[in-house]
């Protein structure tokens, strides 16, 4: 028989990792109850919001709480956590081994280097400009603006700790780069350049997840994610708007 405390800790850690790295709310709740079930605890309850997770193993038992303070999107970690839960369900892993494995996943470094992420944000900006019917003349300026914006974003997040300020500064830089390149005659349509290069910052996943959570009945999660998405969109828009006013 597994110790109850260990099992609770395992479920909470699993939920935390999945929630922090961008899994859908219903999937987090589902995974936690399933793990409990696979150890014969059929009456566990979990309540997941974007900022915290509550879990109780059986009616009448103490509920435990885990705070989720920062969220990002890391699909690799979601995938690894999912593998662990699959192995637990099939009985291949004990709580002890699974817990150790999850700890490893939680602290493991990201798979791609920062440079590689910057390069992909750069390329993504350029290709988005093409997809939004920009011409190939706009490709390079969009790459430059998008790349610089992304570099600013990841550095300023470390500096300010308030995400929205970092996003504001990043979009200021994007706006500045795009408009000044344009005023030197580089690029055909400044609108397309700006749209393409802000795409790496746009909270597309959040907006979609917010509507999706609302539809699935996770009203608190949906509203919270919607608020986060709105703030991000507002920060980006405000940054670009300042540059509009200046140029």
């Amino acid at each position: 028989m597994e110790r109850t405390e260990d099992l609770i800790e395992l479920c909470l850690l699993m939920g935390k990792i999945m929630q922090q790295n961008g899994a859908e709310t219903y999937r987090v709740e589902d995974t936690m109850t399933r793990i409990a079930q696979s150890f014969g605890r059929d009456e566990s309850q979990s309540y997941v919001t974007p900022t915290g997770i509550m879990f109780t193993i059986s009616p009448g038992a103490h509920a435990k709480l885990v705070r989720v303070s920062a969220r990002e999107t890391n699909l690799e970690k979601v995938n690894l956590a999912n593998d662990v839960s699959r192995k637990i369900a099939s009985g291949e892993m004990s709580t002890h081994v699974a817990y150790k494995e999850l700890r490893k996943i939680e602290t493991s470094p990201t798979d791609y280097s920062v440079l590689m992420q910057i390069i992909s944000a750069t390329l993504a900006s350029g290709f988005f400009t093409i997809m939004f019917q920009g011409s190939w003349y706009d490709f390079l300026p969009a790459c430059l603006a998008g790349g610089l914006g992304f570099i600013a974003l990841i550095n300023f997040i470390r500096l300010f700790e308030i995400k929205f300020v970092a996003e504001f500064v990043a979009s200021l830089l994007i706006g500045f780069t795009a408009f000044s390149l344009f005023s030197f005659g580089i690029g055909k349509e400044v609108d397309k350049i700006v749209v393409g290069s802000i795409m790496p910052l746009v909270p597309g996943l959040l907006i979609t997840n917010a509507v999706r959570d609302l539809m699935a009945g996770h009203l608190i999660s949906g509203l919270a994610k919607g608020a986060e998405a709105f703030l991000t969109a507002f920060a980006i828009g405000a940054g670009i708007a300042v540059m509009f006013a200046l140029f």
Binding site: L75, V78, A124, F244
Partner: protein, 148 residues
């Protein structure tokens, strides 16, 4: 134009796979999912379908493909669907709305913002639809198995 679209959407989606830290061996598939979605969307818009139903259909197909891939490779579905739907996200509309707000053209801004919101809703609807469809198929299969 179509080849340009295909190349651009493939690389944009795969690049988003890297930004979102998708596992290395899934990057090409992420790119393909994004490409399929964007091609369907662009084709429908070119055929003068409104962008809202076009988005709905594209995100529905993206979710179907992602589910199939997820089942095949035993991964969560979001690994494929998240980078895949990124091209559909109404980033340019949100930008347009913001620009109009700044230029004090509130009526244009609110109508564009409403459109952006509707398109986000359409993306989510497409995803949810295909999930519901998947669950129904699963249930039908289960009941059939029980009858036998």
């Amino acid at each position: 134009m179509w080849i340009e679209y295909a190349i651009a959407s493939f690389f944009a989606s795969a690049a988003f796979g890297i930004i979102y830290q998708a596992p290395r061996n899934t990057l090409v598939k992420c790119g393909l999912v994004g490409m399929v979605g964007w091609m369907i969307y662009a084709f429908l818009v070119w055929k003068e379908v409104d962008s809202v139903p076009a988005t709905l259909i594209a995100s529905f197909v993206i979710a179907l493909v992602s589910q199939t891939l997820a089942r095949r490779f035993k991964t969560p579905m979001i690994i494929f669907s998240v980078p895949g739907i990124i091209p559909l996200v109404p980033g340019s509309l949100a930008y347009d709305a913001m620009r109009n707000f700044v230029q004090n053209d509130y009526s244009a801004a609110t109508s564009i913002a409403a459109k952006a919101f509707t398109i986000s809703g359409a993306i989510a609807f497409g995803l949810v639809f295909s999930e519901v469809l998947n669950q129904i198929i699963k249930k039908v299969k289960q009941t059939k198995a029980q009858v036998r």
